[in-house]
Symmetry: C2
Amino acid sequence: MSAPYQANAVLVGRKDTMNYVLAAIRLFTEGASEVIIKARGKNICKAVDAAERVRSTLKDVEIRDVKIYSEEIEGEEGRKRRVSAIEIVLTRRE
Amino acid sequence: MSAPYQANAVLVGRKDTMNYVLAAIRLFTEGASEVIIKARGKNICKAVDAAERVRSTLKDVEIRDVKIYSEEIEGEEGRKRRVSAIEIVLTRRE
């Protein structure tokens, strides 16, 4: 059974922005009422761009929330470093 | 007379992130109760990074709001193109 109210996440990485735009659109067309686009570091711009493109493509989708925060990630030799991250919550208007 | 409640903006451009971190910190130490960090396109990651660094440096500053949106900018030969933008509102906790 599909779970239309489940939070669906799209993790933005190294691929072209359009991959993440299409992934989010697919989740919405499959019935998701909410899609969360996440990214860290240099991919943050790509996440913002993807969210804006999804919103301009699906007219009933709006940005409900944007959170920015810091994460500690473990690099080579176990050294920890801080990296900024973003979570963009897109929802379908009722 | 100083206007502590005025919205003070830091526009993030091509310089190193630390320039914008320091600009925002200066505004707060000069009495601003709110500082808005703005950026477009590829500078969005830098703006998020700057906001996180201001927040971790000034413990009484928090992120009140993050807005993402699209802007149309006029390029060469008058051609218009869409660009994503971000506005991060930092406020000093009372």
